[in-house]
Amino acid sequence: MSFLRHLRTLLWLDLRQAWHGRLVHVCLGIGLVFGLAVRFALPVQLDLGDPPQVADLTEDGRFAEYFAEHGLAEAGAVHGSMEALEVAVAADPDAIGLAMTGTPAAPGATMILQGHEPETTVVALRSGVAGIWAENGVSRPSAHRLTVLRPDQPRPPFNLSMIPLLLTIDVLVVGFFFGGVMVLQDRSLGTIGAYRVTPGGTAVYLASKIVVNVLLALAYTALLLVIAPPHAVPVLSLIAVVCLSSALLTTVGIGVAVFFRTLSSFFYPASLISLVLSAAMPAYFFPAFNTPWIRALPTYQAMFTLRELLLPSGRPSTLGEFCLAIGAGLVVALILTTLAVDRRLLREA
């Protein structure tokens, strides 16, 4: 009972400190900006750039209809001669040109590049040329095949697919950074000295900071999802993921911060740790980053568990595994951080 009474006392104080320290404003501000970005600024589909400039220089002019069907003629990207094509490509530093040449018996193409394009663009363009010939009746063996595992599942719009990523960023910022900042604020004001000589102990101190940050993370999540609602919002599962992730990262943030005296000395190690935790983000876009150590990061696990919750792909749920893994990590982090707070913060050096 006294633990709850102590927690209530400190929680009220920490919430007021978070409000006066503008942590609440920053958290909700980020939520608002990200929510508005998802809703209004991010495109539903990614526009991969301007269409290529093209010319049909084949003997039978067989691609005229094909180019029209793909909207190239309408976009003014079809040219009548190699010279005109070269002029058009030269006029736009990001443009590439493609002239289809030859006959069905001897198919060919000329690619016009600016010169700065990566090799992958050239390779892709070569494959594209073969594909265009094949689509237009010149049968050649094609290496391209597309297999869709769950063809009935709607593909999430690009803007909504960013929500799990943005929620993970929040958990990282609010949890890790804010946890550390709250401790260092107590240090710089000297109020930790005043707390040391009260009956409130380490557990209450830690619990209060964690609860404040979890509440902030939940407020941010709610704000973001109200502004930009995803496909599904399984409330209880979502709360579990956000609470566990935020609690874990807050605990780690506090555990690291107690080894530093000032915010400026905390900044560099905190940035380094944030960078490591952020290493999970590229894996969201490029599966090549999906290495075992990145998969072990709590941010990676949170991000993909949130994606499955909010934008279900039909895969089996990994929520149970997530809760077990993060829960175990939280227990370890709590034990270590409790020791660190007790030795480094609540006692004199």
């Binding site: 006294s2 009474r5 102590h6 209530r8 006392t9 400190l10 104080l13 007021r16 400190q17 006066h20 004001l189 000297g190 109020t191 000295g193 005043a194 707390y195 040391r196 000589v197 009260t198 009956p199 409130g200 102990g201 209450v204 006692r347 004199e348």
Partner: protein, 288 residues
């Protein structure tokens, strides 16, 4: 009753103990002043006594119970006031007094402190709702002192409670501390302020190089270890001169006889030794 026996404390990596073989007995309701220059070990002694530093050697007992037997509930019995104000700047003065109260066990109504009355008592009545960050240094100092009283502790540890206060406000704070003593609160007061120690403390302990070199009431210390002097004003070549002469010195007595014999003496005032003089005599070092 506070009992400290043969307490020694050495910081990790320290070449010599910061507190050496300190023994004290402080009965309930006494104000004990701990005096000494910076680095004498006063703060370290207070930190070990308030469990902020671990007990390495020796023993401390509060009402016969070893400090080792106490958990954090010890802090419900003691109140600690700091020299450097550590307040929440964005909370009002009154909120700073009450913000930690929920951490203490509930007190019976007759032992509950009224924050408004306390603030009035030390001249902060008009600043109750002002943000603590806007307080002057002296106001913050008073607020920190009041916060240490809010849970009605049995023992008070006060570090330089009059630091930064004007004489009139200092008198109000002294009256407040004296009032707590009358209610049976034991006060351990760490200070450089000789006047405060002399006026307020039942006993003072002089600390030097981590050890207590003497402990007694201010009066007894001054009588035992201080030199009484006479301030003599006399005529010399048409103008007025003055000299401090000690009756215990044969040479000074002869000089006094000489001045009286020549009829040159205009005024004579006796001067009692100060605690600072006693401290210098005992340690060979000034207090600051």
């Amino acid at each position: 009753m506070i009992e400290v026996e043969e307490l020694t404390f050495c910081y990790r990596g320290g070449s010599a103990p910061s507190v050496r073989d300190v023994s004290l007995r402080v009965p309930k309701g006494e104000i004990l002043g701990i005096l000494g220059p910076s680095g004498a070990g006063k703060s370290t002694l207070q930190k070990v006594m308030t469990k902020l530093l671990p007990l390495q050697q020796g023993s401390i007992r509060y009402d016969g119970v070893s400090i080792d037997a106490y958990g954090r509930e010890l802090f419900a019995r003691i109140g600690v006031s700091f020299e450097h104000p550590n307040l929440f700047p964005k909370l009002s003065g009154r909120e700073n007094l009450t913000c930690f109260l929920g951490l203490y066990p509930p007190r019976p109504p007759e032992r509950q402190e009224d924050p408004d009355a306390l603030m009035e008592a030390v001249g902060l009545g008009d600043a109750k709702d002002k943000l603590a960050g806007d307080y002057s240094k002296g106001m913050k100092q008073r607020l920190v002192l009041l916060r240490s009283l809010m849970h009605s502790p049995d023992i008070l540890f006060l570090d330089e409670p009059l630091s930064g206060l004007d004489p009139a406000t200092g008198e109000r704070v002294k009256a407040l501390i004296d009032d707590r003593r009358r209610r049976g609160v034991t006060v351990i007061l760490t200070t450089h302020n000789m006047v405060l120690a002399d006026k307020l403390c039942d006993r003072v302990a002089f600390m030097h190089d981590g050890a207590i070199v003497d402990i007694d009431s201010p009066r007894a210390l001054k009588l035992r270890d201080g030199d009484h002097t006479l301030k003599v004003e006399y005529r010399e070549g048409g103008s007025l001169a003055s000299a401090l002469l000690s009756p215990s010195s044969e040479r000074d007595r002869e000089r006094l006889d000489e001045l009286f014999g020549a009829g040159l003496v205009e005024t004579v005032h006796s001067q009692e030794a100060t605690l600072e003089q006693v401290f210098i005599k005992l340690t060979g070092q000034a207090l600051r």
